[in-house]
């Protein structure tokens, strides 16, 4: 059984204005988050990602369907029992949401107090967390004295204080610059590997997904439009929304305007061949072409690495008499798409 199970979950918010339509924020989502994994949830603004997170820790009740966390179905629980469940689910935010009336220390102590951890144990736990996130010297600073990256580290330390099994990261890097984002991504990976925390990473930044997530679900209009391993989703995005997201970091398939430009310069047949590590090698593909005397030239493409495996798309101009025959032979072994 998965650590988090969503079954046909829907969430409708009441209309914003009197007489308006209710807002269907999440619309029939079924998904599992397995223990120990990092799941990326991707989608544009308004897709329902934050709502999904708030259903997992029951900050909002579902309108339909069931959410099960560690075997407990949340709809059956009282508010008091839900509070206990929430203590086992950490959450970090885009705007950090630190308590400005408390020091870094006070921020991290808060969830310990809520969880009823005896004060005598706070000292050890808080310094352990501060060392883990690399802020041991900032314990007595106030949030406004920290940089964005440091604030998010405090957010992470605070979220981990009560030793949750799950961490929800809602756009946790979206307010950070690329370098700081990478630091936070590295920290989250350590949270997953060293502490065994299952992480749900909500983001619209594909770079973050690419570097962090084991698996991805893509959301649009409250539904999951695509899901799969991060490698598969990046190597072969199926849905149009996914393709747009993937293209923000992997730009190996020529866009329409690029195609027009390529056409102008390359009169031969243009095809795009998708390569994936563990499948047909480039040598084999080019061998097929050479053996038939087909001339070829690489005109566009790239090779990417995701989760330690490579994939790529190469656009090739083919010339010669036996192009058709070569393409037929290739299509049986790799994904070949004619560029039109």
């Amino acid at each position: 059984m998965a650590l988090i199970e969503l079954r046909d979950v829907a969430k409708t918010y009441p209309p914003r204005r009197r007489g308006g339509d209710p807002v269907l924020a999440v619309d029939g989502v079924t998904l599992d988050v397995n223990e120990g994994e990092i799941l990326g949830v991707v989608g544009y603004s308004g897709a329902g990602k934050s709502t999904l997170a708030r259903l997992i820790n029951a900050l909002e009740p579902v309108t339909r369907g069931t959410v099960t966390v560690a075997g407990q179905e949340l709809t059956r629980l009282s508010e008091g029992e839900l509070q206990k469940v929430r203590r086992g689910i950490g959450m970090i935010f885009q705007q950090f949401n630190l308590f400005h009336s408390r020091t870094v220390w006070g921020n991290i102590a808060y969830p310990l107090k809520v969880a009823g951890v005896p004060t005598s144990q706070h000292q050890a736990r808080i310094s352990e967390l501060l060392h883990f996130v690399g802020l041991a010297d900032k314990a007595h600073n106030y949030p406004e004295q920290l940089s964005g990256g440091q604030k998010q580290r405090v957010g992470i330390a605070r979220a981990l204080a009560a030793s949750p099994k799950i961490l929800l990261a809602d756009e946790a890097t979206s307010a950070l610059d690329p370098e700081t984002t990478q630091d936070v991504v590295d920290l989250l990976r350590r949270v997953n590997r060293e502490l065994g925390v299952t992480i749900v990473v909500i983001t619209h930044e594909m770079e973050v997904v690419k570097n962090l997530a084991h698996r991805v679900v893509v959301m649009e209009n409250g539904t999951v439009v695509e899901s799969g391993s991060t490698f598969d989703v990046f190597a072969e995005p199926g849905h149009q929304v996914t393709r747009r997201f993937v293209r923000t970091v992997v730009d190996d398939v020529p866009s329409e305007s690029v195609v027009a430009e390529l056409r102008r310069r390359h009169p031969g047949r243009l095809v795009t061949v998708a390569f994936r590590e563990g499948s047909v090698s480039q040598a084999e593909v080019f061998g097929e072409l050479i053996s038939r005397g087909v001339g070829f030239q690489l005109v566009y493409g790239g090779i990417e690495e995701v989760q330690g495996r490579t994939f790529g798309n190469l656009t090739i101009e083919l010339t010669g008499d036996r192009v058709d025959e070569a393409l037929r032979a290739l299509s049986e072994r790799v994904a070949v798409r004619e560029v039109i």
Binding site: F93, S101, R158
Partner: protein, 219 residues
């Protein structure tokens, strides 16, 4: 000028009366205002204890009583004060109407200050498993503490103003002294001495409030 020295004991008594009335207004009225103001905020739509009916009732009560000019409230409440507290005039009655008026004024100030707390911070605390009431007392109010001090300082000045008016319903204090021995006996020395003491009280309160807020807001 000689008259001012002659009235020394009266000045002392009036000053103490004013300070006591202000203190009662700020503390008791302030506490009631804090409760009503927090109620107004948390019962809003999407609030921690969202409740449309309670919110509507609180709003109606506050909107009815708050705009009434204080002098009219003071005389208007007299029958009720007499019913409940036995006397309709004097310092006790004055304290009751000051508390009443201060509570509604402060309620709105508190509500406005609480709005300035980012909702995400409250959500973070809830996500940690804190109960709604716990979030109110350990996050909402502490996070708004700095602005609240400034709001109360503002209210303090308004309450000093009220204490000068309650002479009308037979209360003592510097306002009454200025009217009785200064204005009516054509002695501006007395009037201005009373005014001077009021200025000092206001300045001290303002200074303490600003210093407190600066300390809490760390700037």
């Amino acid at each position: 000028m000689d008259r001012v020295i002659e009235l020394g004991p009266q000045f002392l008594e009036a000053t103490i009366e004013t300070i006591v009335l202000v203190a009662v207004g700020v503390t008791v009225g302030g506490l009631l205002g804090l409760i009503v103001g927090t109620g107004l905020y948390v019962t809003r739509k999407g609030g921690l204890l969202s409740n449309g009916v309670v919110n509507l009732l609180l709003n109606i009560v506050v909107n009815v009583f708050r705009p009434i000019p204080f002098i009219l409230l003071a005389v208007g409440l007299q029958p009720f004060v007499r019913q409940v507290f036995g006397v309709g005039i004097g310092n006790v009655a004055a304290a009751v109407v000051i508390v009443f008026a201060a509570a509604f004024g402060i309620a709105r100030i508190v509500e406005q200050n609480l709005v300035s707390v980012p909702p995400g911070v409250l959500e973070a605390a809830r996500a940690m498993g804190a109960s709604r009431t716990r979030v109110i007392f350990t996050v909402l109010l502490p996070e708004a503490f700095g602005p609240l001090i400034l709001g109360y300082t503002f209210a303090f000045v308004a309450i000093v103003d009220m204490t000068a008016i309650v002479g009308t319903i037979g209360a003592g204090g510097l306002g009454n002294l200025a009217l009785q021995y200064g204005y009516r006996q054509f002695n501006p020395w007395v009037t201005w001495s009373a005014i001077l003491i009021v200025i000092v009280i206001v300045q001290l309160g303002q200074f303490a409030g600003n210093a407190g807020a600066r300390k809490v807001l760390r700037r």
